[in-house]
Assembly symmetry: C2
Homo-oligomer: 542 residues x 2
């Protein structure tokens, strides 16, 4: 199974069923052999606008049925025009309207089947006109350029005019004039998968239709910039020649089916840059609009941005597939307020605290190899290096007299900052959370012990670990508990050591570094984080 | 070049630039090393809602920034959490709001970096709260379920409440309660392409995160129905157990990045069918919402459909990525008005005309092999068979007395219908257009010659061919011209024959069957369509 698709015969009906379940539509009885969807509540005072063609181009065409766009759509099989009877039945269903406009993509099958249906409907007294879309510029001298993604813009344009009450003859005339000004070109990195066919995928091609036919030439773009230029430059050349080099443009970027959102974002950015944002009066949001199944490619459509067209494309619609439009603009930048690295250096100094902190730093630096070795038994062997990096940053801050050792909250902030900048990894962020929270508490007038307890609680909140998960908490929590019950720093150090040593018996961790390690590997090994905390407590109290 | 992407380092900024060009956003100065986007005109009376995380999930998160959803978003590198300073700078930029809510996906990196930023912001006096999203049910016993696509629904939910003026503490409480009720599960047919990495693609997997990590188990669905069941059944089982088997549900189908619109349509149809449309109170339109680059997979999210949640998800927003919601319903069918095959059999009979038509039919049946051979020299060799099929249908209609040979318009309609049903291919539709148009003209009181001329003009309109393109027109036009100038049927037959014979000298066709055939192959060969017309005219006049 290579795709999330039902059988080739079922796909078209399945997709139409999905559309008809999510949008207020009438769907022709499947047993009739036709695939017609119509707006459930069409305004009979408006000219009805119908379009359609082979399936495999979704969201075209059923995805564009809704107030302000298509009145209905007729689907054929995958890449095969619907039969004359289906088109005629759709027209007949709109016989109450003051005319029916057919929007036809310029492919022989569509032209003839929609054409015959139109003639038969006329013979029945229904007023029918048509707009033929032939926007593909892949073959400059083609007598019959294909109708491709630009068709979607025609749907939107004539759908808007029809809702505005424009009568059939004028609608057909203006719709054809709009269609005739559209220029489209596509390229793909590979051809599409046509269900039920097993053709090999083809290489990058320029000038693709939407039925998996080969492009007009093979290309080898070395970069996305080059790929975009291959598509955009011929379009702009024709646009400049036909509409003037300064003429503001409408721009549409169409996903042929297999582009990721990231690719559409990159292509959008490059297209805006290459054309110049200021020249683009309006852009449809990049989206899959006229696809060729899962073809990994895109097409671009440009047109002159007449006021008439701008208004039509901007008017809101209720459809599943129309993505909306935006007026592109140069991004507006702001300067983010970043932290000053020396924000907390000002405040009193306390020599005794400074000395205690220096002892902690020295103890952790000295333990680097031992802690790394401990970590190597159950993890990636860098716990000692991580703590030593933090310790060196602490040492340096003390050497540079950059810590306000005699001011409670500034000291806690200074420690948090030094740790965050130096330690990296989860341990660094967690300890930084501890000291940052403690600083807030100290600022609010709480003492060091409740402040640190609040900090540890936030560590647990964000880290998700509990006592017994073989983490720093297994030393931190007992140490703070001892202090909270009036114990000395020695008592705290003893509690921390006992807690750390006990981690050797813990073999099931729900969070933290040991969470994915089997019990056998953990048994008998002290957690290096808890051990580091115990060493720090011992050094502090000494 | 395999993808339309810039370098791994550039992608994230390029995509953000595209977003910032299409949506009214402020973007942090790229030189700052941060990637923050904020609503350009945030309402300072509302709690600000921020989210973010690693990039590669677009449209998440920047695509959901806009009134009614996120106030801002912070992006990291591809699949890597943004740094603490970036998150903190985004919070600071919203310091004028009555509180800042962080929506955090449950991954260690996001939890810690957003957590530390929150604590540092609190230390600066900014009121910050957070909602943690952990909607993935891939590992039922996971202590820390991952936050995946359900996050987008949380954005929408809290974004709506914030706009409604809900204060920070209540917003966090209700947001967390909503997040805790979300159930999501993903599967993919292949892993994604991470730019800059060259890991081989993996096989189908269930229970995927959004960072290309392996799924919780390998699967081998034999069909899309089976693939969908693998995802949906565990979700429904949990939903039934937690919310009751009758509880109406919210449904979200998320494209993980590489699904075609056709695949999303099929999956939607099957999901609605499997859950039961009547149980789904609301569905987001199927779309790429939380992607894992180009991963060819999807995820489904369900949640209980509380009135509170329904209202929040239905309220309109102005973002690039939110696709909107619909209330799914059973499709409403209508019976299309198809044509009755005997619609035109009633009317007078004319024995002489019947005999002439029979001679035409016999002539074309007799010419089958000769015309096929002619066609084989320049095309696919079936022109004779095609005309003979039409001729046999004509013969049969005459034999069954099903043609109103004595009534002008009904006869023309009858001929059009017999040809359409029997001939197939372009020639059949074109001749059917000719006779249908002629019928309309005859109905309006015109004579046969102008009626047929109008028909030929419509043939040209829809077919796109002109005199000299080596088509039926090269015999039809001279024959009608002869009649229009008062010539006899013999004159017409002679003109048709001269026209047909002259096609052997025509070597450049702009339309029709010879359009793609090289001149060398055409030289000296009479067009079989024109030849058939000449034979018909000769048989008619005899």
């Amino acid at each position: 199974m290579d795709q999330f698709l039902t059988s080739p015969r079922a796909i078209v009906d399945d997709v139409l069923d999905a559309v008809a379940a999510l949008q207020p539509l009438l769907r022709s009885d499947p047993a009739s052999g036709t695939r017609i969807v119509l707006q459930a509540e069409r305004d009979p005072a408006q000219v009805a606008v119908l379009s359609g063609g082979g399936a495999g181009h979704e969201p075209a065409h059923a995805g564009f049925v809704g107030p302000g766009m298509l009145s209905g759509a007729i689907a054929g099989d995958l890449f095969a025009s619907p039969g004359v009877e289906a088109v005629l039945a759709a027209i007949r269903a709109c016989a109450d309207a003051p005319g029916v406009l057919l929007v036809i993509k310029n492919y022989t099958g569509d032209r003839l089947n929609f054409g015959l249906a139109a003639e038969r409907a006329r013979a029945e007294g229904i007023d029918v006109a048509s707009v033929l879309v032939a926007d593909d510029i892949a073959l400059p001298d083609a007598a019959q350029p294909r109708g491709i993604a630009g068709t979607v813009l025609v749907h939107k344009y004539v759908g808007h005019l029809a809702r505005e009450g424009v009568a059939l003859a004028e609608l057909a005339r203006r719709g054809q004039a709009f269609a005739d000004r559209l220029l489209s070109l596509g390229m793909a990195l590979s051809s599409c998968t046509v269900p039920g066919q097993h053709a090999g995928r083809r290489a990058p091609e320029l000038g693709l239709g939407i039925h998996n036919e080969p492009g007009t030439r093979k290309v080898q773009p070395a970069s996305v910039e080059e790929a975009l230029a291959l598509v955009l430059d011929p379009l702009l050349e024709q646009a400049d020649a036909r509409y003037g080099a300064d003429a503001p443009l409408l721009l549409m970027l169409n996903d042929l089916g297999g582009c990721s959102t990231q690719e559409l974002g990159v292509l959008t950015r490059l297209a805006l840059q290459r054309i110049g944002t200021e020249r683009i009066a309006l852009m449809t949001l990049p989206a899959a609009l006229m696809t060729s199944m899962d073809m990994h490619g895109f097409s671009i459509t440009v047109a002159p941005a007449d006021a008439d067209a701008l208004a039509a494309l901007q008017s809101p619609v209720q459809t599943l597939g129309w993505p909306g439009v935006r007026v592109p603009h140069a991004p507006t930048h702001f300067a983010p307020a970043l932290s000053r690295s020396d924000a907390h250096r000002h405040g009193a100094r306390d020599a005794q605290r400074g000395a205690a902190l220096a002892r902690v730093a020295q103890a952790l630096i000295a333990a680097q190899a031992e802690l790394d070795a401990l970590d190597a038994q159950t993890g990636d062997g860098d716990a000692g290096s991580t703590f030593a990096a933090g310790a060196r940053a602490l040492q340096q801050a003390l050497d540079e007299d950059a810590l306000a050792t005699g001011a409670d909250a500034p000291l806690a902030h200074g420690l948090a900052a030094a740790i965050e900048r130096s330690m990296g990894g989860s341990s660094g962020v967690l300890l930084s959370i501890l000291f940052t929270t403690a600083a807030t508490e100290l600022e609010a007038g709480h003492g060091w012990v409740p402040a640190l307890q609040a900090g540890v609680a936030r560590m647990q909140h964000y880290g998700g670990a509990q006592l017994g998960d073989r983490t720093m908490l297994d030393a931190l929590l007992p140490a703070l508990e001892a202090l909270a019950h009036g114990g000395s720093t020695d008592d705290a150090a003893r509690a921390a050591r006992a807690g750390a040593d006990a981690t050797a018996q813990l073999t099931q961790a729900r969070a933290g570094r040991s969470a994915a390690v089997p019990a056998d590997a953990l048994r008998g090994v002290v957690d290096p984080g808890a051990d580091a905390v115990a060493r720090a407590c011992a050094a502090w109290g000494r």
